[in-house]
């Protein structure tokens, strides 16, 4: 199924600078799998937003979903 | 293959973030001291933190070295490639070299009573996180 992964801000360093990637993933792939396939390490994956809503890594994706990946909240 | 001498170039100061790590490294390596006042390279603002950072470094003068000319006791010898080398045993601590340097790059160590002369050793360039400093190969002029 076709999944779009958007890498927010600083995370673009893992996707060769691209803010949007189109991936072809097996059925029932999870949100965290999509992020990983796009090249974003799990340790840097903070938030996963699918179709405007925050989801867990294990969330099962449907064909045509967009997964936006953000890094952890950084605070100091 | 003969190694060409190198000199310090501080020509990337537009990128400087003012972290002072170069100064801490110079003082540490060259003087085994934690204090910034021992550093040969000086980074400061051009008037308050709203202004740019500027670096005062030894420019490795060739031909005429004003500091060496001003020294009455021959404590500053010409360094191959430019600049000078301090011979501390000949130095009397008169500070004439400090005044003579046209870009004010000679700092003075009030504790040892000797000038702080840049060795162009390159340690500061290794500790700049932003590529503001570099070493450049130059022909030997001596």
């Amino acid at each position: 199924m076709k999944i779009i992964v958007e890498a927010a801000g600083w995370l673009k360093r893992f996707t060769s600078g691209r803010s949007e990637l189109e991936l072809d993933l097996p059925e029932n792939a999870s949100a965290i799998k999509a992020a990983a396939t796009a090249g974003i390490p799990e340790s840097e994956t903070g938030f996963l937003i699918v179709n405007g809503k925050k989801v867990d890594g294990a969330y099962v994706l449907k064909d045509g979903d967009t997964v936006k990946v953000y890094s952890h909240i950084i605070g100091g | 293959m003969i190694n060409m001498p190198k000199i310090l170039k501080a020509d990337g100061m537009n990128k400087c973030i003012g972290c002072f790590t170069c100064m801490l490294a110079c003082a540490g390596v060259n003087h085994q001291n934690h204090s910034l006042s021992k550093s040969a390279i000086s980074v400061r603002t051009s008037g308050g933190l709203q202004g740019k950072f500027v670096a005062t470094v030894c420019l490795a003068c060739r031909d005429e070295r004003a500091c060496a000319e001003a020294c009455p006791s021959g404590a500053l010898e010409k360094r191959p490639g430019g600049g000078v080398i301090l011979k501390p045993e000949k130095c009397i601590g008169c500070k004439k070299c400090v005044k003579a340097c046209i870009v004010s790059a000679v700092n003075f160590d009030e504790d040892t009573h000797k000038p702080i002369i840049c060795k162009h050793c390159g340690v500061c360039t290794k500790f700049c996180p932003h590529d503001c400093l570099r070493m450049e190969e130059v022909p030997n002029d001596l």
């Binding site: 600083w10 405007g52 925050k54 909240i73 950084i74 605070g75 | 540490g28 308050g48």
Partner: protein
């Protein structure tokens, strides 16, 4: 003192104009920073007197490894907070730690009150009390310039100063450190003002020979490489903390319009990316830190007709984009910078100022106060009104703004609207509505900050909500940060400075400590802070949480007030057990 077994404390008496120096061997086991400062505060604070009484102290302290290792850049200030009435603890970077270190002081205790406005000039050989009468009334920017021009020590100097808000003793007035950093929270600026202390200039150029150079420099290099080569810290330099706006907004954790909402419809306009594209002009560092997380944004302002422009530059960080941005419904990055500029000009804590204005706006909307009191029509997104309101708060213009200048807790006591006065035990809220971790963390944190124990971070990483686990995590992190803040680390580097690295660094400069020692130090410091809080009248169990926290959904969904109070009780039990086991 580095390489010594004592802490070198400089005592300054503003009433008598005298100083004294003590070498405190008994403080050595507190390592430095918040450890040493807590003990000094415990000794000198007067619980029976008001926070702004002249007998109250201001304590500054640097850490065991300040300046000699990368990113150990901060100074801690401890005092009795005029905002909360109890423990005041605040951190700032800039150049202060480096200059104190090179001037040869580990801690400074300031007591008394000068009869005339004064600024202090501290160097390694002298402490001068200088006439500041003509400086009284100046913005922190102007006074910084004057002191810079009058005092020697260019390049090796730190200048900390207050603006008019501090002079007027606004309860959340801040102290500006080297233009772009601050002791922001809990009102240190007001304490300065109450002592007629306008500024402090510190110049450090002492010779401090390195002992054991080979071992020390090996450790220095290793830490430096870890800080600069790895990904760990580059995100702080990239777009900086402002990058948080987008994910927090998408996750429903961004406090918006006095927390009436948890999502901001204009979030993209004030996101870190937008600031980076439109306003960012340079990045800077605190001295001793190769990361450079200070982001400076610029906007162009037309100050008069006929194309009369000026360029205004301000430092911006996530918390300011929340408090003066989403919390007030501010729609553009330029306007946020404008609000930051004015808060800076007067010397107000940007976080508390924004949250105070948020409450005032809702109070105005709900007609608890009228325009006769607010003087301008307050409304979310109405930047021009907020600019005026900031000025009125800083100057305590009328009874309403005088009350507001004491914080939302006291203002809502007088005018109502306690349910939407967003504070934790008197300290205005930080920018995270992530769940129970953020709320409990700020309520129990020794200085009521999200940084005491990183509650918001625990909310993010906890897979399944577990009460016991949350309370434990907060408790352990609170103690751990007491130890980290005695070094004094910049918390951005907490992933680089794991226990192994800390021990390696401290051992190379003569602190023969083991892992258990670090744990013991953390607990020792936490107990000290809790004793101070108790002596100053703080009671954890009487903390009331504003109802708005449970009305607006958080990132974790709707929160239950009963659960929150249950968690507070559980945390308090852990504290009591620890104190009993003393």
């Amino acid at each position: 003192m580095i390489y010594e077994d004592y802490v070198r404390v400089l005592y300054i008496n503003l009433s008598t104009g005298k100083i004294r120096i003590e070498h405190r061997k008994d403080l050595h086991e507190y390592l430095g920073g918040v450890g040493v400062a807590s003990r000094l505060l415990e000794e000198t604070v007067k619980p029976e007197l008001e926070p702004l009484d002249e007998a109250q102290p201001i304590v500054f302290a640097i850490g065991a490894g300040s300046t000699v290792f990368p990113v150990l850049t901060k100074t801690v200030a401890m005092f009795r907070s005029p905002l909360t009435g109890e423990l005041g603890e605040s951190y700032a970077g800039g150049r202060m730690a480096m200059t104190l270190f090179m001037a040869g002081y580990d801690a400074v205790v300031i007591q008394g009150r000068s009869c005339k406005p004064v600024y202090l000039a501290i160097t390694r050989n002298d402490v001068e009390f200088k006439d500041a009468r003509a400086l009284w009334g100046m913005s922190s920017d102007e006074v910084g310039r004057v002191v810079r021009e009058r005092e020697p020590g260019r390049g090796k100097r730190s200048i900390i100063r207050i603006g008019p808000a501090g002079e007027n003793m606004v309860s959340f007035a801040s102290v500006c450190v080297d233009t772009y950093r601050h002791f922001g929270r809990l009102g240190l600026g007001a304490v300065f003002g109450s002592k007629n202390l306008k500024a402090i200039s510190i110049v450090g150029d002492k010779s401090i020979p390195v002992k054991n150079f080979k071992e020390y420099f090996k450790v220095y290099q290793e830490i430096y490489n870890r800080v600069t080569d790895t990904e760990i810290m580059s995100k702080y330099h990239d777009a900086g903390t402002p990058i948080n706006i987008e994910p927090l907004n998408a996750a429903g954790a961004l406090p918006t319009k006095n927390l009436r909402q948890n999502v901001f419809e204009y979030g993209d306009n004030i996101s870190g990316e937008t600031f980076a594209q439109k306003n960012l002009i340079r990045k800077m560092a605190c001295t001793g830190c190769p990361v450079g997380c200070i982001h400076i944004g610029q906007f162009r302002r037309e100050f008069d007709k006929g194309h009369e422009y000026e360029a205004v530059s301000e430092s911006y960080d996530y918390e300011l984009l929340f408090s003066l941005g989403s919390f007030l419904g501010t729609k553009t990055s330029d306007e946020v910078l404008q609000l930051i500029e004015l808060a800076e000009h007067y010397g107000l804590d940007a976080m508390s100022a924004g949250v105070a204005l948020g409450w005032a706006t809702e109070a105005f909307m709900k007609k608890l106060v009228t325009e006769e009191q607010t003087l301008v029509p307050l409304g979310f997104g109405k930047t021009q009104s907020y600019l005026k309101a900031i000025e009125y708060m800083a100057n305590k213009r009328n009874d309403f703004y005088k009350a507001l200048s004491e914080g939302v807790n006291k203002a809502s006591d007088l005018y109502g609207g306690k349910e939407f006065a967003m504070h934790f035990a008197g300290n205005e809220m930080p920018g995270y509505h992530t769940g129970y971790g953020a709320i409990i963390g700020a309520a129990v944190g020794a200085r009521h900050s999200h940084l005491c124990n990183g509650g918001y971070s625990i909310d993010q990483s906890m897979k399944e909500f577990d009460k016991e686990k949350l309370v434990s995590a907060l408790f352990e992190e609170e103690k751990e940060r007491c130890m980290l803040n005695s070094l004094v680390i910049c918390l951005f580097a907490r992933k680089v400075y794991d226990r192994k690295t800390i021990l390696m660094a401290l051992n190379s400069i003569g602190y023969n400590l083991k892992d258990e020692d670090l744990t013991a130090i953390g607990e020792r410091i936490y107990k000290t802070k809790l004793r101070i809080k108790k002596a100053l009248g703080f009671d954890q169990m009487s903390v009331k949480l504003p109802k708005r926290l449970f009305e607006t959904p958080s990132m974790m969904g709707q929160l239950d007030e009963n659960v929150a109070y249950e968690l507070l009780g559980m945390y308090n039990k852990r504290v009591e057990e620890m104190m009993a086991g003393a």
